[in-house]
């Protein structure tokens, strides 16, 4: 197990390095650099450009030097000082802007994962056991629709329906009163009364996919002789199902987190924009449209890092429940 963990960790470090490289490439993509944009904004505001300050910034970020030097300064700043650079639009260090929003992202996405599993598990088991029943067909149809409706459309639809039926707009994660408050019971209730919509929207596609996979896995397992044996021994039916085939069928399901998570992070960006959530998504969109590249790069990088770490956790979880995985992959 230890060896498995070390190899996975090494692979993760390499992946993280690649993530940082991609994020830096995106920072460098737009024509011009941060300084020219910065000076242009200062000039357009009629402010005087202080040459000494510009020079200091130029040295700090290594502008005008080869990309590799700039990358080195950028990445060492992040690793040693936790400094992701400056956001020129907000005139503040990137770090002060992103952590709160990233926390909200993790919260919403984490809740979505939990909801996904709690809905998908019982339904998946039910439709596999009651194959070709009415419930099975309903779940299949629902699953296809869940997969085909893009998340942001679902969010729009939900927003529209709640406006027409209940006269309220859904959106945001906190009411203004609790916006900046510390966590407390009333704040939690307030959060839950608003967060159900985005969480539900985010969970649909994943739930549909999980049910489909669980159904297929479980159907394969239910045919195996050990199930018949368990039944022949006189075990109650619920025990036959839950104790053996479900446990085996769950293993491949855990590994789906590897692609479920990128999709989830991806769609949360766009759903957050539609539902106006204070997560990293809208901030990313805004920073990209205003070409605030250090902020955008930091968000892209951190979203990538989150995904990689989440995938690693799921891999380790899988290796822990299913020892065959450890021996299978060196």
């Amino acid at each position: 197990m230890l060896r498995f963990i070390t190899t996975r960790l090494v692979a993760m470090v390499l992946t993280l390095w690649a993530v940082s490289f991609v994020a830096f490439a995106i920072i460098q993509l737009p024509p011009g650099d941060y300084l020219t944009t910065y000076m242009a904004t200062l000039a357009s505001n009629g402010d005087r450009v202080d040459p000494a300050q510009i020079d200091a910034l130029r040295r700090q970020y290594g502008f005008g030097e080869p990309y590799i030097v700039q990358y080195w300064k950028w990445i060492t700043g992040i690793l040693t000082r936790g400094d992701f650079g400056q956001s020129f639009e907000w005139k503040a260090p990137v770090t002060t802007l992103i952590w709160g929003r990233l926390g909200n992202s993790i919260l919403v996405e984490g809740l979505a994962v939990i909801v996904m599993w709690t809905i998908a598990l019982p339904i998946g088991i039910y439709v596999a056991v009651k194959k070709y029943s009415l419930g099975d067909y309903l779940a299949t149809i629902g699953g296809f629709i869940g997969l085909a409706i893009p998340n942001f459309l679902l969010a729009l639809l939900l927003m529209y329906l709640s406006f027409v039926w209940f006269g309220t707009t859904i959106g945001g994660l906190f009411s203004p009163a609790y916006e900046n408050a510390h966590w407390s019971i009333p704040r939690l209730m307030d959060f839950l009364s608003r967060a159900w919509a985005p969480v539900l929207v985010l969970a649909t596609a994943g739930t549909a996919e999980l049910i489909r996979i669980l159904r297929a896995n479980l159907l394969d397992e239910l045919k195996k002789p050990y199930v018949t044996t368990a039944r022949a021994k006189g075990l109650p039916e619920w025990k036959v199902i839950l104790k053996y085939p479900v446990r085996v069928a769950l293993n491949p399901l855990v590994s789906t987190i590897g692609w479920l998570l990128p999709a989830l992070v991806s769609s949360s960006v766009i759903v957050s924009v539609v539902l106006n959530l204070p997560t990293a998504g809208p901030l990313l969109l805004r920073s990209l449209t205003s070409q605030d590249m250090y902020l955008a790069g930091a968000i892209i990088m951190l979203l990538g890092v989150l995904t990689v770490i989440g995938t690693l956790i799921s891999d380790l979880l899988l290796a822990w429940i299913d020892p065959r995985i450890r021996y299978g992959s060196k």
Partner: protein
């Protein structure tokens, strides 16, 4: 030597009772999947709409009329019932406009009294279908061009949603095809090399693919799309977005191609061709590729929905195609605001098209995938 011991072919060949070509077998297999057949027709219908956009759209997608801001859908009625009794007359109803004193806003109500006859194959100003076929009729039109004709409603500038939807279909569906074609090109070259030669290149390619697939795609796409210069023309943006989509889209197809190459590499007929002294190029193009073309086509079909969704999402967020271009994404962008949506819920119609096309392409692709291997199962 082996040739001499082989009996003449005619003696061992089985009696030719019923032999069907591979294609016929596939078609037979495909037809068993009823949902796929229905989906095939839906997909064909959508692509026909895309091809005939200028003919089908009642007006130019950019034609606007400030008098009919957010006019609701009129629908088309076919029967007129007046003092002369029932008769067949396709028509739309006019609008009565009312000023809502509370909101200080003009709202439109369908006026069942006013009947505006609709003509099929109505003559219009000459235009070129698909850019080169000169035409001067449209499928539908009203007699007097000043009469309102908004079958699916109007948007904030009083533009006809139906016409915009039809033209958007062309852009959205073609970007799906173009993106997949480009992805296929990269996928076949990269996946083919990796699968055929294996070794270091193969493992490097696989690591890159794994890496790209482990990343959340929308932030990456957004980052790339945001770097496009704002002053690019519509055509340049269109191609740039296609390239950006296929930068990530090639991975899935490359994986399929590589897998096929890997499994075929050790087949007897490939070894035979190698022993015959055929060049790698000839083996790949003449022996290997034809044997898995159907699989590739199926995989490519299944990749189109992802492309369409990605374009829609990007344009919806305002970083994909830009407004003078009409696509489902840019149309949905108009519906982003809850106030707009409450006034004009019909702006969500492009969403219905997205869902229908995505579902149809998925079922069609599933059917193709099953049919690609007609001897299996």
């Amino acid at each position: 030597m082996a040739v001499e011991t082989m009996p003449p072919l005619a003696e061992t060949a089985p009696p030719r009772a019923r032999r069907e070509s591979q294609l016929a077998l596939m078609w037979r297999r495909f037809r068993q999947h009823q949902l796929a057949v229905v989906s095939l027709w839906i997909v064909v219908a959508f692509y026909l709409v895309a091809a005939l956009a200028e003919f089908l759209a009642p007006v130019d997608p950019a034609f606007y009329s400030a008098r009919y801001t957010y006019a609701p859908p009129q629908g088309i009625n076919f029967i007129v019932n007046d003092e002369n009794g029932w008769r067949f007359q396709p028509h739309v109803n006019g609008y009565k406009s009312e000023i809502d004193p509370a909101a200080m806003r003009r709202t439109f109500v369908i006026d069942p009294e006013e009947i505006i006859p609709v003509r099929f194959f109505a003559p219009t100003e000459p235009y070129r279908l698909a850019g080169f076929i000169p035409m001067s009729v449209k499928l539908m039109g009203v007699e007097n061009p000043r009469d309102p004709f908004y079958v699916l409603g109007a948007d904030r500038l009083g533009r006809d949603l139906l016409s915009r939807l039809i033209h958007g279909t062309r852009i959205s569906l073609s970007i799906g095809l173009a993106g997949v074609t480009l992805s296929l090109f990269f996928g076949i070259i990269i996946g083919g090399f990796a699968g055929y030669y294996g070794g270091l290149f193969d493992s490097a390619v696989m690591r890159v693919i794994e890496f790209i697939r482990s990343m959340p795609t929308i932030p990456l796409w957004l980052g790339l799309a945001a770097a496009l210069p704002k002053d690019w023309s519509a055509l340049q943006t269109y191609f740039a977005i296609t390239i950006i989509l296929s930068l990530i889209g090639w991975t899935e197809l490359a994986r399929v191609v590589r897998g096929r190459f890997l499994s075929l590499r050790t087949e007897d007929f490939v070894t035979a061709a190698q022993l015959d002294g055929a060049s790698d190029w000839r083996i790949i193009t003449r022996h290997m590729v034809p044997s898995f073309t159907s699989h590739i086509i199926a995989a490519a079909t299944l990749a189109i929905p992802g492309m369409i969704l990605a374009e829609t999402a990007l344009s919806f967020l305002g970083l994909g195609l830009q407004p003078p271009i009409v696509s489902w994404g840019t149309l949905l962008q108009e519906a982003q605001n809850i106030r707009t949506l409450a006034t004009a819920p019909w702006l969500l119609t492009p969403g219905i098209c997205v869902v229908v096309v995505i579902l149809a392409l998925n079922f069609f692709g599933d059917g193709l995938r099953d049919a690609a291997d007609p001897h299996g199962r």
